[in-house]
Symmetry: C2
Subunit: 295 residues, 2 copies
């Protein structure tokens, strides 16, 4: 006969109480049921687990040994169920997110703060990497959500546009003259350009914009952080291509000036990428983003 793991639950109670009738009460069953289960367990194991006394039962040596193991086993199950309970109360768990570049500061951090305030027990892990790598991690389940520039064409992933990012060219004081009136693409191509490293989404979008007008550009300065681009622009090395939100302060302080282009610059859309099936914890995280950026 096959052992039913549920019998051990009954056995464990009886082993503590050493009285079938009272165990039955505790288990919300009748005494014959308990008697029957213990009997089955004993027969299946081929060994006596209890002595039957006139005033209850008593564990045999072998029963004692078994009880120790069974106790540990159910303790594991108990802990597991407790953990899941915590998880459901958002008192446990982690969210693993990925973002590329400077998007984090502008879009992710504010919501992250809100999330962390609301669910302080949930651990947050943030990975900064290329769009490609982030997408792959999400596909294999290593990351729960990614924040990248669209378009991303992955049919198996859920992609939600969050926010439009307007880019612009900014220059330092020595080029302020150029900001007085709209600039042609031709004139722009003659200025030294400060761009993100090739391979970045922003870079290729800009290259596409020039190419559609018959220009093939090369970067005079090729850097891999927005902060660096802005720093070089301020010092007058040329025009940096950066998100508008990043240089509001510097423009107001008069350290940088924005160049109006005759032909509108490309607008990038920032999106959140998740798997269609997400983990319990990551669900509430992504929901918070969707609420924050819902029109």
């Amino acid at each position: 006969m096959h052992i039913n793991a549920e019998w051990y639950r009954v056995f464990l109670v009886v082993s503590k109480i050493e009285n079938l009738s009272r165990s039955a009460e505790k288990l919300h069953m009748t005494q014959p049921s308990v008697s029957y289960i213990i009997k089955q367990l004993e027969e299946s194991l081929g060994i006596a687990l209890f002595e039957r006394l006139s005033k209850g039962v008593r564990l045999t040596q072998e029963g004692k040994m078994l009880a120790e193991y069974v106790e540990k086993a159910f303790q594991q199950l108990f802990v597991a169920e407790s953990q899941i309970h915590l998880l459901k109360q958002y008192k446990l768990g982690d969210v693993r997110i990925g973002a590329n570049g400077a998007i984090i500061k502008d879009v992710v951090l504010p919501i992250l703060d809100e999330f962390h305030n609301q669910y302080p027990d949930i651990r947050i892990r943030l990975l900064q990497d290329k769009t490609k790598a982030i997408i792959d991690f999400i596909k294999e389940g290593t990351l729960d959500a990614g924040f990248v520039y669209l378009p991303v064409k992955e049919p198996e992933l859920a992609i939600t546009p969050l926010k439009e990012v307007h880019n612009c060219f900014v220059v330092g004081r020595n080029f302020f003259e150029l900001s007085k009136q709209p600039i042609t693409t031709d004139r722009l191509a003659q200025i030294p350009l400060l761009l993100l490293s090739s391979g970045s989404t922003t870079r290729s979008v800009l290259e596409g914009w020039f190419a559609s007008q018959g220009y093939s550009i090369k970067a005079d300065f090729e850097l891999n952080s927005l902060d660096m681009l802005i720093e070089f622009a301020k010092r007058g090395y040329g025009a940096a291509f950066v998100p508008e939100s990043f240089i509001q302060d510097e423009i107001e302080l008069g350290k940088l000036a924005k160049l109006d282009t005759l032909k509108p610059l490309p607008i990038q859309t920032l999106g959140m990428v998740t798997r269609n099936k997400t983990t319990f914890t990551s669900d509430i995280f992504t929901k918070m983003f969707l609420n924050a950026y819902a029109e």
Copy 2:
């Protein structure tokens, strides 16, 4: 809905194989059963344990966590069942026995040797103590079997007479004269007596024997081991009351002589005491004794 521990067994297999159909085969059930069980478990826990993919299922984060605990839990149960299996093959277990005094050497040791040869993996624990203490230990289940002088009046214990122990008085060379012909009780009472400490069964049996004939004896030497009694007798201090089997050698060597009493000396019966319900391992031990001493 209440969680059935048996579901976890199914969950564990599925968590390893990540394919319901193949898990079903391994579990000797059908795919819908497995699907149903997993669904119930997920509903009971209120959390998704697997993602359903087109080519199987995949553990969620939460499922992974659960699987780790469940794995440990069933490992415990597996070990427990293995142990019991060993026990049943007499490859594991222990027998705890008690005996008082010198009985051990004569009666217990030979069978103990045989037992140990046959079941070398079973641990033997031997306690030497007073009859009273041994009986109490057996009643509370701390000892499996006891070897003591009968009668023992304990209705809840199983008492089996094993062997009759014939006692006799022995004397050293200076008293050899007395061994030529049967001795009267009167004469015996005049010789210095070497007896076991009062409180021992043997001692009280002898006191009873004298008392029934109107004598109240006192020991001239009161020792608590048979070896000592015999040693003192050999040196001529008086007559020692000891089991016949203990002085065969010395009589043949002419160092001791046995006194024939006119009135026959009391014969003590050595018995084995066990609880009516015994442990699995101790059963085969006591059976060996019963076989060895069966008429």
